[in-house]
Symmetry: C2
Subunit: 246 residues, 2 copies
Amino acid sequence: MSKRPKKSLKQPPAEQSGPAFPAGLNQIPLLQILSAQDRQKVLGEMTETRYGKGQYIFREGDPTEYFHIVKEGSVKCVKSSLDGKECTLKVLMPGDLFCCDASAFDGASHPGTAQPMGDVSVLRMKKEAYFKMLRGNPDAAMEVIRYLGNRLNEAQEKAKVLALDRADQRLASLLVNLAERSGVQEPNGIRVSVRLTRQDMANMVGVTTETAIRIMARFKKERLVSGTAARLIIRDLPKLRLLAST
Amino acid sequence: MSKRPKKSLKQPPAEQSGPAFPAGLNQIPLLQILSAQDRQKVLGEMTETRYGKGQYIFREGDPTEYFHIVKEGSVKCVKSSLDGKECTLKVLMPGDLFCCDASAFDGASHPGTAQPMGDVSVLRMKKEAYFKMLRGNPDAAMEVIRYLGNRLNEAQEKAKVLALDRADQRLASLLVNLAERSGVQEPNGIRVSVRLTRQDMANMVGVTTETAIRIMARFKKERLVSGTAARLIIRDLPKLRLLAST
DNA sequence: AATAAAACATGACTATTGTCATGTTTTGAA
DNA sequence: TTCAAAACATGACAATAGTCATGTTTTATT
């Protein structure tokens, strides 16, 4: 629930366009499902763009013209209230679809803002072209349905946690999710491969930065986690899981 | 956040099966999109079932075998935590799809419980048959994609409200939604056509029953609403809207 | 290496909401 | 119509989390 930054953001140089046929895209489920030739066609219509700190991929209220896929890095989808508090709906990882946060399948404008977390690479394609492809491609359409169903479940699980759990339980849930979704096994625990400050975490679970800091400090004392944004380690996943599902 | 009822529910007689070709189904968007002959085929594979107070359509954790559509009445989708608190994810109205809450498109078991609110009538169809139909029916598949995108947006908007707003603002949001989604214009205001107790409302916005009662009492004093569950009237929609979006 | 900006930390106090207890009113079923 | 259960109501108090203020540490950049 941090205040919006006070306009002091330095705007990096304009976004740079990458090559139209980037390598290593075959592991993205939503593209994998296509036949080789359809995939080539889709890739031909996609543009890769890189974004850096302080930029926006699109903002809440912007007209929805493109459908996006994260190729590299992570992207956060954010909604803000009128008084400047903001809430991070989801951190999207490579392969995730967003438009935004994954849903201007219905609606003419983006319901949230998409911001890169560090350097990212994003693929995009005209919404209409994508729809046309889906129409002719039942497997791809079914994959999107499956994907959206999954996202809907996730979003509702999140709503449940926000509605019923205390701040420490919500943070524990977040840490468990992070460990599962982006965790890398290390000798002394599971490292979260996304860089998240206490403030980022606070925005993800609907508490203030101070509360997130205090609770994380407690978790650290109880040896459930260690490290900070640059290198966050989950040290006791079972105990966090227990706390999350009390 | 009410405690789960203490097993004192009387179980009404078993559910009764209705006719296989019920009338008045053409206004359901997800069926409307089909060609007349496909629609007949789908209806042929659907069963109508009626449920009453105290019954369950399905429960959290049950295997997902069917895809459902609400035909008449309202159905609530609920998730509970281990300590018995529960949270209502959504109230589904006629035409809404659920499986549940609208998303065992991915996943083998229901992520929530579906409960009738009063007497309801529900259509259902084997999941596999529905998927098969979607595969052969790009228009229908696109409609489902649109629908799920819409639902995802809704769910994320709800998460935002839960994360950032105070109890009174969350309740105001709920009232605004109810007025828009199920409101009937009346001489002295907008009547909410779904019967919702203060406890139902509490479960929908993540507060205790007492808090919901207190805030509704305040709203009543301020002439924003009147009446209770059986006949809830929204008297000042603009003011509620203002409070909701502060 | 110097330095400014973020990020992290902590205390004191306040606001909000939950909990528990108890009582009244309304509703629905026998 | 009666009667029990559910819904609505309210007070007193406790717990939780927010706010504001201030200070330290870490990180990134020149």
